[in-house]
């Protein structure tokens, strides 16, 4: 079992969601985050003072899947993400999960994940 953590652009979430559902990955958790990357910073001017916002709005997607789904999940995310621009389209990290429990049933392991 793996935990896929993807940091993505907020506007790409809806499309990724559809893509994931198509690939029969029905469950995931979303939270918002700010990302420091090497993207072009957003330039703001507030009351005459210019400042650069380097912490940009991102969405953090967490998908726990059984090993055989890892590839589809990665694909669903990467296929949607725009590839233009030269920076800031985000990252996917894959971490091992040792155990998974469905709270409602106390089911454990790979059947609990989906």
């Amino acid at each position: 079992m793996k935990l896929i953590i993807a940091i993505i652009q907020p506007e790409e979430l809806p499309a990724m969601k559809e893509e994931l559902l198509k690939k029969k990955i029905y469950k995931f958790t979303v939270s918002n985050a700010l990302g420091q990357g090497r993207e072009i910073p957003v330039h703001e001017v507030y009351r005459g003072i210019a400042h650069e916002i380097t912490l940009l709005k991102k969405v953090r997607l967490e998908i726990a899947v059984n090993d055989e789904y890892v590839e589809s999940a990665i694909e669903a995310i990467t296929v949607v993400a725009r590839k233009d621009g030269d920076r800031g389209r985000g990252k996917i990290f894959i971490l091992p999960i040792e155990e998974c429990i469905r709270i409602r049933t106390n089911e454990k392991g790979s059947t609990a994940i989906g």
Binding site: L13, P14, H43, K57
Partner: protein, 430 residues
Amino acid sequence: MKNKIFWFIFFCLGSLLMAQDSLAIDINAYAIDNFFLFISAVLVLFMQAGFAMLEAGLNSSKNTVNILFKNIMDLSVGAILYYIVGYGLMYPGGGNGWIAFAGFGVSNTGATPGAGVLHPQVDWLFQVAFAATAATIVSGAVAGRLKFGAYLIYSVIITGLIYPVSGYWKWGGGWLDQLGFYDFAGSLVVHAVGGFAGLAGAIVLGPRIGRFRKNGNSKPMPGSNLALSALGVFILWVGWYGFNPGSQLAIVGADNTNAVMLIAVNTTLSAAAGAVAAMLLAWGLFKKPDLTMALNGALAGLVGITANCDSVTNVEAIIIGIVAGFLVIGGIMLLDKLKIDDPVGAWPVHGLCGLWGGIATGIFGGYNLGIQILGSLAISAWAFLTMFLLFSILKSLNLLRVSEEEEIIGLDISEHQEEAYAGFQIFTVE
């Protein structure tokens, strides 16, 4: 003989005193009427805050700065333009009935004081508040995708030209007025002009990205701050007590006093009826009481009664409000069917219910229904067509709509590099 002279002097003094009294009475009346119009103008200007809050609340938080900015600028730009040319175009005092111009600026010379005599400066103040209302209605309809520069151009054109011209047709004594068309406080002259201009904008611009799904379904884009929207409606309701009663233009004289009071009550009852009707209909249709619909319903009632608030009874006012409350929901659903994206319901509220106000004046107010329909359509068409043209020209010059990327990021960052709610964690997805 001495006797007679004595009496004569006595008399003359008396007459003099009486003349002075008459003058003093006139001066009091003059003060009252001008004070009344001044306060009415202030109430109408306060409506700008109402529109700003209503629209800011009904739109996404990523476009809040933009919508607030549009609201403050249509007032500011509008005031300057209406001062320079708008007023002269709207009240040329004569002319051919279609278009005429009295000259730039506004006089500062008061006429002989008396009841019903208005100082030209306060008259302008009241009129500019109306012009700014017509102008600001559009900002909600085009929210979330119009370039800020385009909005400034639009503000110049509507307050400097479009609104004054159709205003002249009716309130300036132009052809509609000569025909016998009636629009007491501006269901048509003000609200329909704004509403139909907004419709033109919404059509030429097209919907916001994601508003209508490929499968034909429409996707709601919920407002980000309904507390502000509700505040806006309360403020608008209050401001309307300047809009309608103030349009009597005088309060001195039993007829005027009585009219003002009837107007105020009719305005109240129609607003209340509109809110209740819209709530009930929405409840029936969507199986839940919907706040934004009720808010729109109150405004619909206010717009519907605006043309005829002096000519109908209390009970008729309630009926006009109920119909308006129903219409506004129908209008919102119609736009949705037609895939026209009007984020705040500017057309259903101000355009459709403005039309309704004009027609209701024919049904209940005792005015000629045919002429009411004609006039209502004429003004609406004027606003729609001229603004359709303007927005189309701006579009062809690529000055109209922001880029897709800018729209998705939100106009606050892309147009103004400023956020409305700095620090707050906001999800703009879904």
